[in-house]
């Protein structure tokens, strides 16, 4: 059965810390892996990864995919209270269907 497992389920850090969020997956017909940030309502898109070993970066956030070991990580450096959110990992299949993990709840304390 296709699935996505995220770890840790929750994480509490202080401003300025660096965090690494993990996402492992098992899927047939893998097309892409995506990260989203969900604060109050709608998840918002962060990164889409299709190739192994190529880091995607946006400000203090970065992500990389390992298609051999079937996992991805999302790094956040110099965390701020505004980074507090649920971070969701998902994959898309070639048919376009998406499966999401349960998310990692990140709390950044001042």
């Amino acid at each position: 059965e296709d699935k996505v497992v995220q770890s840790p389920l929750s994480l509490v850090v202080h401003e300025g810390d660096t965090v690494t969020l993990n996402c492992s997956y098992e899927v047939t017909n893998f097309r892409s892996l995506l990260w989203y940030k969900q604060e109050k309502k709608a998840p918002t898109f962060l990164f889409m990864l299709t190739s192994s070993g190529i880091e995607k970066k946006s400000g203090r956030l970065s992500s990389i995919l390992d298609k051999k070991e079937l996992f991805s990580i999302l790094n956040i450096t110099a965390t701020q209270t505004g980074d507090s959110a649920v971070y969701l990992c998902s994959y898309n299949t070639n048919a376009g269907k998406s499966t999401f993990g349960d998310g990692t709840t990140l709390t950044v304390k001042p």
């Binding site: 995220q6 309502k41 709608a42 998840p43 998902s90 299949t93 376009g96 998406s98 999401f100």
Partner: protein, 114 residues
Amino acid sequence: GAGVSQSPSNKVTEKGKDVELRCDPISGHTALYWYRQSLGQGLEFLIYFQGNSAPDKSGLPSDRFSAERTGGSVSTLTIQRTQQEDSAVYLCASSLSGGDQPQHFGDGTRLSIL
């Protein structure tokens, strides 16, 4: 507006009633998804529409749930004979073409079954 629009934003109804949830995707997006999110949980896939293809209904939890997409645009998710376990946030998303595109989400409909 330019984003995905869902209505109503909140719906409270009695057990056993039918409900209809509406999703207006971003214009030009051919792919449309429905998800359900219970408190503290991830997104549970319900159904996926891509263009004129037959929808992928593999995530619908029971035959009380159905969805349609008219004219390749607006979609409605219908839940018949609602049960208390149907209480959740129902999220709709659209994307340009599916598998290699990110999804854009609406703010969801919070459904509460009394």
